[in-house]
Symmetry: C2
Subunit: 621 residues, 2 copies
């Protein structure tokens, strides 16, 4: 009976909700018209949904956004930022003045699309189809790790359901039984340039949602009582729920309702004024919605002492194996969580899984969802490590990019980098990952040459801010370092060298081994060659490079198992760009399209093998 | 009655098909065991499907792979290459010796995963979830452009249905009514590291497929008659069909059937020998399957003369507008086809659509499918131009990467690049696209500063090989060039300069305008600054840069609306890496995370505006 009662809103409550919805509409118009920029019509369609959601369902202490028991509210349709910020005003999180005067202005935290510059925003959205997959990550944390009753509410647009990532997310929501996740799809029928593919075919939406393992509730998105009922049922559901709401774009402003050519356009001041008047003018209603129940004390177990794996110098160990070993070792930190794209036996993430099955989430072959889940998990304070082949992080590049915009703290490990993988051929070779990952805002890019350095870097990835990318190698190569050697991020190692070096051979990862062999060959021919292991590709050890330039007269040979653009060679060049001394850098990289073969055949063919390095060094001295 | 008769295979036919299937299994084992590498178990599960498909349904003149009427056969599960190559042997396309002796060897065209090095392979596969979306592109060409009765057959694995791109593809197949597309899903229940998410839950597969607008036929994938019936019905269907085949991984080798830990592992020689014996030994059956009906003569209309748009020097025109204008102009070439991710009113691709609606395909917000469809269309000889915001090509980066591996000839246009877009904020700013696109094998990267150069470059993109990427700007900036000025790919323009230049200001796109304003300011202070428009970012005009180094004593200021890693600055540095002369390059790029604001505010904040360029030039001289 209680549930029934909750579902039945009285007239007074409905009137109040309608007032809230009107305020959200008016404020969405006001801020975007003042900014002369933004997406009011996409906000108007969802105003009723949000009025009910924040008034009666989202349990959130707006004065304390860090409260662990707060629900999460994500606008996957980030362009509806006027509505989100109008919500923040309605709950008293921001002032009316901030909303209207600063939206989309330089220096304002009320940016065109939401970012975590606002404490109530978990992640940046605006690249469609990302908020929902991130929400899945948060819900995973809630259900399996935090075991707290917070709920994750995600507002999606209808257009963004064309993104495959939405279906990766619903599939995982169903698979993991995320009853703490509710998705509201604002089916306003109109995309940017015209009708959406499915328009108001709500039944097709319903069938898709149900086939992907989620409960679907179809409602009129402007019927406040129906919305309230749907959201109440969603919170009580035994699995994830998608509320498919039929709405009208521009709802509340009859002149522009359900019209094409009104996407992403603010109302001109005269139209805005008429619309606001018709909506009953400006309001300053302050909502007090439901509050979270107090969270129990965290009581997380204290971390055990970290014991990194130890290796015998000279033994052949693949760095991907060291990644797995180190991952298992850092598992003593209870905030470490691991994800993989159904290749954990190749990336060696399975070595963690065996020890900590409760902190491993199989993402199957959906790299976009994998990275998004990592971003969601870090929202809740976890340190996710996500792994797949280096090549396949390209599938999730937009998610990595947006993780940078979100200033998310995540760790990614790409195995099977470069032509070194051999027979599998170019589709499986990460050959552009260094370029792509370096270009992510605030990223760290690491590429160890041996097991000891790999383990040491994994240990640092547990605490390092931002997007951290580790590149590992398929094949086994000799351990080069003693177990207690430090490998600070931003550092490098001098493996061969003295005052009379005539050339510096600079590698990272597998090419360090080729550089060492080349240096030996050169030494036997009377040419002293310095060998530098640039295991930290970003940030780079500029001091080490400056010394090499000074000592060798600027004779550098950079060798990388990567395409020539944007990788290790570029990193070195960027670092030395402003140097007064002349530099003659020979850049050995994979310049053609590789094929299948043995690692040695392919490295030789690409001109990054030992003989090519020797030849380049000889030519430079 | 005819259809019924076709569906009923006699005992003799079934025996023949079983023999073919046995041969495919034996050959899959032989080649992978000999190579000691590859995925035999994933081949064995699909051998019966392929035996029926190639014997009775694929209409293909294997001696003439360029026959326009041939069906298309795509292994989206590219790791089943042993089976594909066994098929090629069975139809007489390759010899038994080539199959067994060269598979996965260095120098062989039988690579670990299929590539178009083989004339019967349309596109490289091996990154899962890509073959199907590409097949959708080919089917679009067949149904809407070629209007030929060829059929597109795609073999998918079950694991890869976890990729959202598969659902983007089925959605588009349904939306466009691609009755010429049949997908075979080899549901062998086992992924790489264990069971798939859905295992043998065929009903869920069926409901998903149907909800996404395709016909689903569920069959026992080892029942030859049932397979034949399903494929016959698929070819006759009025829409796209997905044959969901329940199969057993490793089928035919009882010791390893349906076992985990047998993914991607060749059989050891003794096990292989036993298995081949049990399967009846080596066969040399030569299949003659159905042949295509002769294609009618192409009769494509002759291209009208190209009339590029003309602009008034000094007028303010956004390069995205010039893209749209030029796209419409090159529409006189009947092979030009345009795709967009539901933002054609922003990218200005809609200017083409208005003139040539029959050659425009709306991909809605599914960038992965958009790029994949472009790859499919070029398989059929079309020149696709695909556009979205520069930032959102990151969503399709794996598809662009694989287009490079396929040596596909496509044109991509990314609008709204850099902080110049202003108020929308960082989620919408392409700031890593130059790095990512430069790192694609065989790519061309263009970034025009004005409307005239943009149009001239679009015209060249119609014929240029490989992945061609054009970066355009949101805002309107002055036309800098006369209409008949040539802009060869690989070239650059000297906009200011003389013998007494003390510094060279190097920009591309929007920063060229900032460089010009800075040069004017410097000139008024008595400092002659050269200004170079590097509109061709890859390939780069090294000669122009060498001259600038020589003339200015190596004083270069490179300015880009892009993150500092891997973009224009790196391109310049890579180009000059081996130069003996000293270079002192000041690199102005977007080093922090941008926010919202006006273009000028944001460029100034990033240090790529006029005053920053002036300061950098002054500091360098």
């Amino acid at each position: 009976m209680t549930m029934e009662a909750e579902r039945t809103l009285g007239e007074e409550q409905l009137t109040q909700l309608a007032e809230v919805a009107a305020q959200l509409r008016v404020d969405s118009i006001r801020c975007s018209t003042k900014a002369a920029s933004g997406h009011p019509t996409s906000s108007l369609s969802a105003a009723d949904l949000l009025a009910v959601l924040i008034s009666r369902h989202v349990r959130y202490d707006w004065a304390e956004p860090s409260n662990r028991a707060n629900d999460h509210l994500i606008f996957s349709k980030g362009h509806a930022s006027p509505l989100l910020y109008a919500v923040f005003k309605a709950v008293g999180a921001i002032s009316d003045q901030e909303l209207v005067d600063t939206y989309r202005r330089f220096g304002s935290r009320l940016q065109g699309h939401p970012t975590p510059a606002l404490p109530w925003v978990d992640v940046a959205t605006g690249s469609l189809g990302q908020g929902l997959p991130v929400g899945v990550g948060i819900a995973l944390a809630g259900r399996y790790l935090d075991q707290l009753p917070y709920h994750v509410w995600v507002l999606c647009g209808d257009s963004e359901t064309a993104e495959g990532s939405v279906w990766e997310a619903l599939d995982k929501a169903g698979h993991y039984g995320l009853r703490n996740l509710t998705v509201l799809v604002d089916v306003n029928r109109l995309g940017q340039r015209g009708p959406t593919e499915l328009e108001w075919d709500l039944d097709t939406y319903r069938r898709r949602v149900e086939a992907f393992g989620c409960q679907a509730i179809v409602v009129d998105g402007h019927d406040l009582a129906a919305i309230d009922d749907a959201l109440g049922r969603a919170r009580q559901a035994t699995g994830p729920t998608v509320v498919i709401a039929r709405t009208v774009k521009g709802k509340g402003v009859p002149e522009i309702e359900n019209k094409v050519d009104w996407h992403g356009k603010p109302l001109k001041p005269d139209l805005a004024e008429r619309a606001i008047d018709a909506l009953g003018g400006v309001r300053q209603i302050r909502i007090t919605g439901p509050q979270p129940e107090p969270a129990p004390p965290t009581g997380a177990p204290a971390a055990q002492p970290l014991q990194l794996p130890r290796y015998d110098r000279g033994a052949k160990v693949a760095t991907r194996n060291a990644y797995g070993d180190a991952l298992r070792a850092v598992g003593v930190r209870p905030n470490v969580v691991v994800l993989d794209g159904e290749v954990s036996d190749s990336t060696r993430a399975d070595r963690f899984t065996d020890a900590y099955p409760d902190r491993y989430f199989e993402m199957f072959i959906s790299e976009q969802q994998m990275v998004a889940a990592a971003v969601g998990l870090q929202v809740r304070g976890y340190r996710p490590f996500a792994s797949t082949f280096a090549a396949f992080f390209s599938r999730a590049y937009d998610f990595v990019r947006m993780a940078g915009v979100s200033r998310a703290d995540i760790a990614l490990s790409g195995s099977h980098a470069g032509v070194e993988i051999g027979a599998d051929g170019p589709s499986q070779m990460g050959l552009e990952d260094l370029a792509a990952m370096r270009a992510v805002q605030g990223s760290t890019v690491l590429y160890p040459s041996d097991a000891v350095s790999c383990a040491a870097l994994v240990a640092q990835m547990v605490d390092r801010k931002g997007v951290n990318y580790l590149r590992t190698t398929r094949g086994a190569h000799p351990v080069l370092y003693d177990n207690d050697e430090p490998f600070p991020v931003g550092g490098s190692k001098l493996l061969r060298g003295g005052d009379d070096d005539r050339v510096a051979l600079i590698g990272a990862g597998v090419t360090v081994h080729n550089c060492l062999a080349a240096a030996d060959e050169l030494a036997s021919a009377g040419i002293n060659a310095r060998v530098i292991d640039l295991y930290s590709v970003k940030p780079l050890d500029r001091e080490r490079l400056l010394a090499a330039v000074r000592d060798t007269g600027g004779r550098l040979v950079v060798v990388e198992d990567h395409y020539p653009e944007g990788g290790l060679g570029s990193a070195v060049l960027e670092s030395l760009a402003d140097l007064a001394e002349p530099i003659r850098l020979t850049h050995l990289a994979v310049r053609g399209l590789p094929t299948s073969g043995t690692p040695t055949e392919l490295m030789d063919q690409a001109g990054i093998g030992v003989s090519a390095i020797v030849a380049a060094a000889r030519a430079s001295v």
